[in-house]
């Protein structure tokens, strides 16, 4: 029995279907479509997400940039709650994932753990939703639902760096590509999968965010992608919301829809674009989707 409990798939959450769910602040507000589509997908895949009671903000890049104590203490509090709940903690936000998993790493030997309540004893695994779904690819009947859709999978920084918490290779990760292939879409080979989109600077230095996001989108367009798929609300915001302000100084205008990977997965699972809130992005993905007969 004991050995079974230690089986790797179990640790990665592969063997069980109940998870504590940490949506993170953005998914409750500007990234609601991500939350909604994630929940729909999980439900349909038999993954039970139990929202962590009374979760609070992970501190995001601001806590990290300001105080190393706070940067661990804030996510530490949520880790503590998750440990009490006893299920692996899953989040769809790459920023939250990174903060939580790094905190879980550091709490082992940081004095701050006392601040956050002693969570070092039984820290539950911290996972990104991509990992959870990846562990279930086998049960996702390869379906040709999205045939013809060319997708540029964008992972950004936080899922693949630093190595200690990365879910995949830092230069050419495959987990989202694998999922896209399974649901019939065509993941494009491109070189900007893990470039930085500008992270938390859109208010303070929008120029940097636009410069970086613009390069990423240009490259996605250059490889002929119909859309960019993301797994982080911050990447989405930088690439989608700021698209209108790009071009000009940085070169040509670019128009590439940016969607959450859960929205594409949701389409393949039979949900309608409206159920998945695909109509709520700044750059409308519906024309591209309908031209492929997907919406």
């Amino acid at each position: 029995m004991k050995q079974e409990a230690r089986a790797p798939s179990e640790k990665r959450g592969g063997g069980q279907n109940t998870f504590s769910y940490y949506p993170g602040c953005a998914l409750k507000s500007s990234a609601r479509e991500y939350d909604i589509s994630a929940r729909l997908c999980c439900e349909s895949l038999g993954i039970e997400l139990r929202e962590l009671a009374d979760w609070t903000c992970c501190g995001a890049s601001s806590a990290h940039a300001t105080s190393d104590v706070l940067a661990v203490a804030l996510p530490g509090k949520d880790l503590h709650a998750a440990s009490e709940a006893g299920y692996p903690l899953v989040t769809a936000c790459a920023m939250c994932f990174s903060r939580l998993k790094i905190a879980a790493h550091e709490t082992a030997d940081m004095a701050t753990r006392t601040l956050a309540g002693d969570v070092s004893g039984n820290i539950v695994p911290v996972m990104h939703l991509l990992e959870v779904i990846d562990s279930r690819l086998a049960s996702l009947v390869p379906n040709k639902g999205l045939a013809g859709l060319k997708v540029a999978c964008f992972y950004g920084c936080l899922l693949v760096r630093p190595k200690a918490v990365a879910i995949d290779d830092a230069e050419n990760p495959q987990v989202m590509d694998r999922l896209m292939r399974t649901i019939g879409a065509e993941p494009m080979p491109w070189a900007f999968k893990t470039e930085c989109c500008g992270a938390g600077l859109p208010l303070a230095r929008p120029d940097i965010v636009r410069r970086l996001s613009h390069r990423i989108l240009l490259s996605a367009a250059a490889v002929g992608a119909d859309c960019v798929a993301v797994a982080c609300p911050e990447c989405h915001a930088n690439l989608d919301m700021h698209q209108a302000g790009m071009g000009g100084k940085h070169g040509g205008e670019v128009r590439v829809p940016v969607v959450y990977f859960t929205q594409l997965l949701g389409l393949s699972l039979g949900f309608s674009p409206y159920e998945l809130h695909l109509d709520r992005h700044m750059v409308d993905p519906l024309p591209a989707l309908s031209s492929k007969g997907l919406a």
């Binding site: 507000s29 920084c157 190595k163 230095r205 940097i208």
Partner: protein
Amino acid sequence: MPSPVIPESRSPVSRFVIEHSGQNPARCYQCGKCTAGCPAAPDMDMGPRQVMRALQLGMGREVLSCNSIWVCLQCQTCSSRCPKEIDIAKVMESLRLMAILEGHPAAEKNIALFNEVFLDVVKRHGRAYELEMGALYNLRSGHPTANARILVELVAKGRLALLPPAVRGVAKVRRLFDEAEAARRRVGREVRG
């Protein structure tokens, strides 16, 4: 920029960085791979390689006043590619913390301001509240109408929560903030000490 006094490699800043980040700047052989891949380098007055160099030479003041430590996106591209396996992002983080601890004026006021506003809001509500954050930031940065177009559109698409989040554990969050602040002051005194 004043010329470095050599050898001054044991400046308090270098010492703090070594201790806090666990990284030894002396390991850096100035190959420049970090700067070459750094997305923020074009906007930095000192690329990450130069920051490492300045630390080797003990040019502590210069590093604390450069904008690089603020525009660093913590993307970790540098750390993940450094052939000497130096965690440069961690060094940037240590420098930024030291600047804050020392009360060193931030070379990028708006970035520091954003972080401050963000954390204020989280402390108040336990979670981020985008509407309030945007408004506060705009007010305090002196650009009251910045990003108005985006805000309007978000509201129109039903993608912005209008009411602040209600979290029961907010008291605990506030306590964490206070304790973290106290810990920070302690370290600050030691650093200045």
